[in-house]
Symmetry: C2
Subunit: 328 residues, 2 copies
Amino acid sequence: MSKIRIGIAGYGNLGRGVELAIAQNADMELAGVFTRRDPSTVKTATNAKVYSMDDAVSMTDDIDVMIICGGSATDLPKQTPELAKNFNVIDSFDTHARIPEHFTNVDKAAKESGHLAFISLGWDPGLFSLNRLYAESILPNGKTYTFWGKGVSQGHSDAIRRVEGVKRGIQYTVPIESAMEAVRSGSQPELTTRQKHLRECWVVPEEGADLAKIEESIKTMKNYFDEYDTTVNFISEEEFDAVHNKMPHGGFVMRSGMTGDGEKTHQMIEYSLKLESNPEFTASVLICYARALARLKSEGATGCKTAFDIAPAYLSPLSGEELRSKML
Amino acid sequence: MSKIRIGIAGYGNLGRGVELAIAQNADMELAGVFTRRDPSTVKTATNAKVYSMDDAVSMTDDIDVMIICGGSATDLPKQTPELAKNFNVIDSFDTHARIPEHFTNVDKAAKESGHLAFISLGWDPGLFSLNRLYAESILPNGKTYTFWGKGVSQGHSDAIRRVEGVKRGIQYTVPIESAMEAVRSGSQPELTTRQKHLRECWVVPEEGADLAKIEESIKTMKNYFDEYDTTVNFISEEEFDAVHNKMPHGGFVMRSGMTGDGEKTHQMIEYSLKLESNPEFTASVLICYARALARLKSEGATGCKTAFDIAPAYLSPLSGEELRSKML
């Protein structure tokens, strides 16, 4: 059987993760990396061939699935519908509030051109969404909780770095253990934003900077930190580089539900991820959905789909018989 | 929209759980309970109408989905293919080694009669299987661990009760915390049967029974206890009735995998259930798959399917638009 030929559109941490994940899947191969930068300036992890994004359209016959690794703020809303005109595409669009609009745009482009598109894959949206859906369908009388972390939030880290006097900065979102324990107890607590997560900041200050002022500026920053208990820690650049050079993340989806006579029986479903590398894990999710896409496309599917629409068996390299005998 | 009409074939703890779960789902209604006993002797939780199993075949037009609540050892291998001749059916067949054979038999009966059948639903097989499949597809380089408990094993409880001198008995399977911690650490340990689970027994002895002999008989029982560390606790009948009158269960599916350059990045996926009632939870799973069955059937599907073959969106009462805006 011929391999699934993957294109990577955009080469940052996620694109690099996809490149490395392809090597873990014997039924896939990398057809090329596409960049808006000068291709000669992009050095890939496996010496993959790098092309200009403008040349992609001339390679439609060489690529079964294009995985779009741009950002959700400005890249994906344009790139995914645009690339869906010429390719089957997958993205990790994660601006939850704008998913319906993104779905409509991508669905239209993909249907008109006869392509298949999967959007909003990764772990949230993605695996966490799947777990919310399964758990809420099984336990209709209950309450769902999502906790994130411990992990690096890029948005909050960027916000710290914009504060005057900050040379380097990183922010970890930390789920509050006592809140998770309250959920596990079955009490179905109402939790405020402050009760669910802490924000932990590590900052390398510029020489001579006013540390108290930096701390105050961070802790009171609207939308980012003011609704949370926030800690600000000042460290040296050496320590920063040694300790805070990774992109860990993770989180928890919990469903606390009641069943039975008088709905008095407590049932608890919990799903969690503990990831040493957020982009590498997200890439691994995208790659196994590329397998599902290739199969669904060969069955004639077109338009836009999400994780909700894809039967689990499509993700695995194993056959139906193998899955039933080994994994069921 | 008309409601999905559910039949319950077999009325034990699971059948009762299905009856109660129907009441939690506004799009379903109970069409009838079917029993091999004298219907007049069966008292249901919600005063549902009870029929003889022999009368089921005359009610094919009144039932959209028949949920078969028999045992896996002898009931389901016969009942599911037999009922699939006249109904769309769902079962919770859980003898893992015999699933392929059961699938073949049910698939044949369902295809010949134009019905749709879902088998081996519940939490293991079922939700745990789904989690093994998703996790192994995402992290191909890794190791999967399944732990069960803390919970009541019917098979082991039955085995205790067959020991001479035992009046009442119950057995809890207990996952060993240190083994789970070793898995979470990313060390991918090789764990023996003894290292993964303890077996905890609670026994009410007959008057004058030889306690030392009971304990020895249990601990050395082949296939059931000899490969485990087992504790045997003797208690009064009053304590037994007060404390050990429930059917809790649960467990953990863990996937420890490596990604990235040189596969050095550890990624951990964990799914767990903590159930106060095993049969009520299993029933809740069956009922939401009844919704999926009714929808897939209306699209023309026939034959046998498992949880692997069913796209998650089919389980939810929400529309695709609602799911994307609320849950993705």
